[in-house]
């Protein structure tokens, strides 16, 4: 175990969290990510029992889930309590695929809000019909000039997975929208 102390994407020891009325914004620093690619025409593997989903969808299997990120390419994710070589674990599950560790490449910010508030908030964040973003839907879109994956975990929970270097700007965008909706200062 290394003696270096890691920082979260928002550059703190502990993940950040804030509440804006009924909306809670939290940094999820315990998400392991690895991209998985299969060559064109190859049969989809089932790492961790996952059915690799079609465009725009999330599939879940116990502790793991997967969402589509490109032609023949998915992101596999798992909540991991501590550091691990997630790419190696994925590769072990799907040896014929190309796997790249992405846990440190992204920041995951989670929004929790009642359904109505979530719908109103989405209108201020991304150019998608909130009603089309049903639970277990994942989209790759733009938010405040940044590229993000938006994952609807449930009616009341939404994850924004953006590039790690944009973590502060992504937090600012989400916090500003949540605060404005509740007439609060950021």
């Amino acid at each position: 175990m290394t003696d270096l102390t890691p920082l979260t994407a928002l550059r703190d020891r502990d993940p950040r969290s804030a509440r804006f009325g009924a909306v809670t914004l939290s940094e999820k620093s315990d998400l392991s990510l690895a991209s998985l690619y299969i060559g064109a025409g190859r049969t989809k593997p089932h790492p961790f029992g996952l059915d690799l989903p079609d465009i725009g969808k999330i599939s879940n299997a116990k502790d793991h889930s997967a969402f589509w990120v490109g032609p023949n390419q998915w992101m596999i994710e798992r909540k991991s309590p501590s550091e691990c070589d997630f790419a190696a674990e994925v590769k072990a599950q799907a040896p014929e695929t190309a796997v790249t560790e992405q846990s440190d490449g992204f920041v995951c910010l989670e929004l929790e809000a009642p359904e109505d508030a979530m719908t109103a908030l989405l209108a201020k964040l991304i150019n998608l019909d909130p009603h089309s973003l049903t639970p277990d839907t994942a989209v790759h879109t733009g938010l405040d000039h940044m590229t993000v994956f938006v994952l609807r975990r449930s009616v009341t929970r939404l994850d924004f997975i953006g590039m790690r270097s944009y973590a502060d700007s992504l937090w600012h965008a989400l916090a500003t929208a949540a605060a404005r909706m509740n007439n609060l200062d950021t």
Partner: protein
């Protein structure tokens, strides 16, 4: 006071406001315009060019005259239309475009010089003498230009943005819009109903008639109550749809806080991007006026607006309630105003109707076949001259309503360059057939302005729109309406009497805001500026903030009369966004100041902040530029110290921003061979190779390194600037050019924190964190790479590469550990002289070494110019390889050289042009340019890199670096681009 009975104002909620420092009272529901009229204020501003006294002309967003400055201090807003400014407690407004008091504007002298200020006077007058332009004419014109003035202070309010999606967007909440929204809403479609007004209802709020058994307002309230109860309908009052864009996208501004004394939490307006599958244009119509001599006096108003003020706001536009009002019309609509005013007990002089068979609908006098031929009144209308049966006669009036017909609001329908179509019956342009796809006109906007027609066309438009979407919709029960008289004749302006020269000198205004008169149009005709595009630019017609909403068609009619053509033959005015003015603040969507654009922070950002780093923007990245130490007062001191520390000991620099692309797959090697110009297929496992990529045209695209981590696993680095572009190029090549290749391409730039450890003691420093991996020169020579662990088990990647020319490494760790790693390296390397360095020093070191960067790889340079022509392999094909061998590129003679001043104290300025000693400083003798320059603490003078004709054969030659911008001509010596270690021994040590 001219307040009358009725109206949709809340008399239990009085509001205080001020205009030009005078306090007034009005009521909730008033606009600034209705409130001013209620207080007997007719004079509200001055015209643009002649500074003529002006009053309120309309009751809507088409207003050309009543432009005021709202607010004060940083919230000062110029050119606000009083007619759409919702009154609130404490509102402060001031008139604009005058020097001295509004009534005694010193600039009114312009009106005396009107004969010299006619259309086109700019183009003719300011041509000579030429020398006067810059110092006299331009400053004077700039001072005179514009109406209101900006505060020049930062905007204190906030703006927001958002996205909405619906099945049907209904633009306009009048009779047609409400019927459409109700039809679609009941059918279950997702509907957005938007109206620029703060109260839905459109003209229904301004008319006195009934719908079915109820007043129009009651029907409006009933429909709104139902629409509000439907979860699939979103009502958006105070929202202007200002533009129609491709693919069913509409731009809209919602005025969230403009009607509040201070916007709540500072949020003033929201910019909405609405995506709608279908849309209905129910934006109503704008009334035309009829130009006559001196028709611009305060008190002259559109008759429909006069009706609106009377019915909705319970005011008449007279200074005193006893002043009589007259109506001048060419159709039946003017008579409706007369009837409504009579019903309100207003003193009515009568209706001056241009038609010989003018009807009479009530108990008032009708002047048939008559015209208003002149007016009097200094700051407000006092009298009009009616020419009836050939005899002019003056009549005292306090206001005049003018009705020249109605123009459908076709603006949005022509935003895709659709040309409106002339309708001979309506005497107006109606929306084009080739307008935006999915946009269906209805109601007055479609030329169907009678209430019954508006309701039914709105309903039918909704049924049609939903039918296209496959959503069944049914007819709704519409209220019964009375038939409305709407005959009119084509009468466009009152011509000056040909025999009366005094009258010929008088002016009749067509475009009030830009002071364009009938005479100006005649002059344009005389000057052969007859096409509508020329007419517009020559006279400035329709080019003011109101876009000529009340003027354009009348101007076309006048020109048509002059040319003897029909109006559609004369031309068609089309429009472009925005429909009404949109502030730049809201277009920015609130992204101002530090939030103007997102920032990317490096993994060591926190540590760099604690070290007092000065940051510089590199694209969206914030990179540490240098790390000043106490006592260093100039950036050069810090940078010189950092550069010398690297050359003497060891320095550490965050180079995470360089692009990192992970490639895997059995065809990864072949893929890279096709992407890179040099050979990558022979790269052994555990090795790194410098590579160059070319554009399709053969020019240099990017450079970087390629490391082979596994049999089918590579990591490519790119320049910071081109990280995204190279990744995109690779994706394009894979998906479109060579989809058969089995390769995964994915960016890993953010996943790894990468630090450069450079300097003769870098190996020693690295050894202190290394868990035991053999980094000796023998085991891990220059251009090696490996995966290892450091700091007791942390997975890392090590690359022995050098941008500085020194013994150097780049080490990559998971991004979360980047901050701790640099902290550790500097801490444990104190005795080795470990020094953090930033981008400025990075630049100095690479220039000293002669390494190319973005300054050298500009998109106009080639591998040959960099001296890397041989790297473009002929043993394989790659993107751009063949094109790089074409004539001009293959014979390009410029080569990268180093440059050093003969006098060590002289500067070397990047961008300077290189010339032979003694040659004339001209482009013909230009031999190249300086690409990069810096002060080199190693050399002891400024140095530079540059491209010079046959540069490689001119080492030791003296040349001139010309910098004409600053009058500099510096003598330089041409040297090797490698100022340090030309043999490359240090980095291989």
């Amino acid at each position: 006071m001219s307040r009358i009975s009725g109206g949709i104002i809340n008399r239990d909620a009085p509001i205080s406001f001020s205009f030009n420092g005078q306090n007034y009272q009005a009521f909730e529901g008033d606009t600034l315009a209705s409130a001013l009229l209620a207080n007997g204020v007719q004079l509200v501003g001055r015209s643009f060019k002649y500074h003529r006294p002006r009053g309120i002309l309309s009751a809507g967003s088409e207003e050309p005259n009543a432009l005021v400055q709202l607010g004060r201090g940083a919230r000062l807003e110029p050119n606000a239309r009083a007619t759409v400014t919702e009154l609130y407690e404490g509102l402060t407004a001031n008139s604009q475009n005058h020097i001295g008091p509004l009534k005694r504007d010193l600039m009114a002298i312009n009106d005396l010089f009107a004969p010299f200020l006619s259309a086109g006077f700019y183009y003719k007058t300011f041509m000579w003498p030429r020398a006067f332009w810059e110092k006299l004419y331009e400053p004077a014109i700039r001072r005179a230009a514009g109406l209101g003035r900006l505060s020049f202070k930062p905007d204190p309010d906030q703006y927001d943005k958002g996205f909405l999606h619906c099945d049907l967007l209904v633009i306009g909440g009048g009779a047609a819009g409400l019927a459409a929204a109700l039809t679609a809403g009941r059918a279950g479609a997702k509907v957005i109903l938007a109206d620029e007004d703060f109260h839905f209802g459109g003209r229904l709020l301004s008319e006195s008639y009934t719908l079915g058994d109820a007043l129009a307002l009651e029907w409006v309230e009933t429909v709104l109550a139902e629409l509000n109860s439907l979860p699939n309908v979103r009502l958006m009052p105070r929202t202007t749809i200002f533009g129609v864009y491709d693919h069913g996208i509409f731009g809209a501004v919602e005025r969230v806080g403009d009607h509040l004394p201070t916007p709540h939490k500072g949020l003033r307006q929201t910019l909405w991007r609405i995506t709608s599958k279908q849309s209905i244009l129910a934006a109503g119509a704008v009334e035309r006026h009829i130009p006559f001599a001196n028709n611009d006096r305060p008190g002259v108003m559109l008759a429909g607006a006069m009706r609106a003020y009377a019915n909705r706001w319970a005011v008449t536009p007279v200074q005193s309630a006893r002043d009589p009002i007259a109506i001048f019309t060419n159709g039946d609509d003017g008579h409706r105003t007369a009837l409504d005013l009579l019903a309100k007990g207003v003193e009515l002089l009568g209706v001056i109707d241009t038609r010989a068979d003018a009807p009479r609908f009530g108990d008032y006098e009708v002047f048939a076949s008559a015209k208003v031929s002149d007016s009097k009144g200094r700051h407000g209308l006092a009298a009009i001259e009616i020419t009836h049966k050939g005899q002019p006669k003056w009549h005292k009036v306090g206001a005049l309503g003018v009705s020249g017909g109605w123009n459908p609001n076709v603006h949005l329908s022509s935003h895709h360059r659709g040309r409106p179509i002339w309708d001979d019956d309506l005497l107006a342009f109606v929306p084009p057939k080739d307008g935006p796809k999915g946009l269906i006109p209805a109601g007055a906007a479609a030329g169907r302005g009678c209430t019954g027609d508006a309701l039914s066309t709105g309903m039918n438009a909704a049924i049609t729109a939903l039918g296209i979407l496959g959503l069944p919709a049914h007819k709704i029960s519409l209220p019964e309406t009375l038939s409305e008289a709407h005959k009119q004749e084509a009468f466009w302006h009152v011509p000056a009497t040909a025999v009366d020269k005094k009258r010929q000198r008088k002016r009749a205004w067509v475009d009030f805001q830009n002071d364009v008169t009938v005479k100006d149009i005649a002059l344009a005709h005389q000057e052969n500026m007859r096409p509508v595009e020329h007419l517009k630019r020559w006279t400035t017609l329709g080019m003011a903030t109101d876009q000529g909403k009340t003027a354009n068609i009348t101007a076309l009619a006048v020109m048509a009369e002059l040319t003897g053509k029909t109006i559609p033959e004369t031309g068609t005015t089309i429009f472009r966004p925005p429909y009404t003015g949109v502030s730049l603040s809201v277009l920015g969507g609130g992204d101002i100041g530090q939030n103007f654009r997102p920032k990317r922070l490096t993994p060591t950002h926190k540590w760099a902040c604690t070290r007092g780093a000065v940051f510089v923007e590199a694209g969206q990245w914030m990179r540490a530029q240098y790390f000043p130490k106490p006592g260093e007062t100039h950036w050069r001191q810090s940078v010189d110290r950092e550069a010398l520390a690297v050359r003497a000991g060891v320095g550490v620099c965050d180079v995470t921003t360089l692009g990192k692309i992970d490639l895997q797959g059995k065809d990864a090697t072949e893929f890279l061979n096709r992407i890179y110009a040099n050979m990558m297929g022979t790269l052994p496992l555990g090795k790194v190779r410098y590579g160059i990529m070319l554009r399709e045209d053969g020019a240099l695209y990017d450079d970087g390194t390629c490391a082979r981590l596994g049999e089918n696993h590579y990591v490519v680095t790119t320049t910071t600037a081109n990280a995204g572009l190279v990744y995109r190029k690779m994706e394009f090549a894979h998906q479109c050019l060579w989809p058969e290749l089995d390769v995964q391409i994915i960016s890993a730039t953010d996943a790894w924190a990468q630090l450069a450890i450079a300097g003769p003691r870098s190996r020693e420093l690295l050894a202190r964190i290394n868990d035991g991996f053999d980094i000796s020169n023998e085991a891990f020579p220059f251009m090696s790479c490996a995966e290892l662990t450091i700091c007791q088990g942390l997975s890392a990647r090590l690359f022995r590469i050098s941008f500085s020319g020194e013994l150097a490494y780049e080490i990559a760790v998971p991004a979360r550990y980047g901050n701790a790693l640099i902290e550790r390296l500097i801490e444990i390397g104190q005795d080795l002289g470990a020094t953090p360095y930033g981008t400025e020093t990075l630049g100095v070191l690479r220039i000293e070494k002669g390494h190319a960067a973005g300054n050298e790889i500009t998109g106009q340079t080639s591998a040959l110019m960099l001296g890397l022509g041989n790297m473009v392999s002929k043993k394989k094909d790659s993107i751009g390889a063949i094109m790089s061998r074409r004539g001009e590129m293959a014979t390009e003679s410029k080569r990268l050289v180093g440059l050093r001043p003969i006098n060590p104290n002289d500067p070397v300025v990047a961008g300077s042009h290189l010339l032979k000693l003694g040659s004339v400083l001209s482009l013909e003798h230009d031999e190249g340019w300086i690409t990069s320059a810096c002060y080199s603490p190693h050399v002891g003078s400024a140095i530079g890199l540059g491209y010079l004709d046959r540069g490689d054969a001119r080492i030791a030659e003296h040349i001139i670096a010309a910098n004409p911008l600053e009058g500099q001509n510096i003598r330089l010596e041409v040297v090797s681009p490698h100022f340090i270690d030309p043999e490359g021994e240090r980095l291989r040590d």
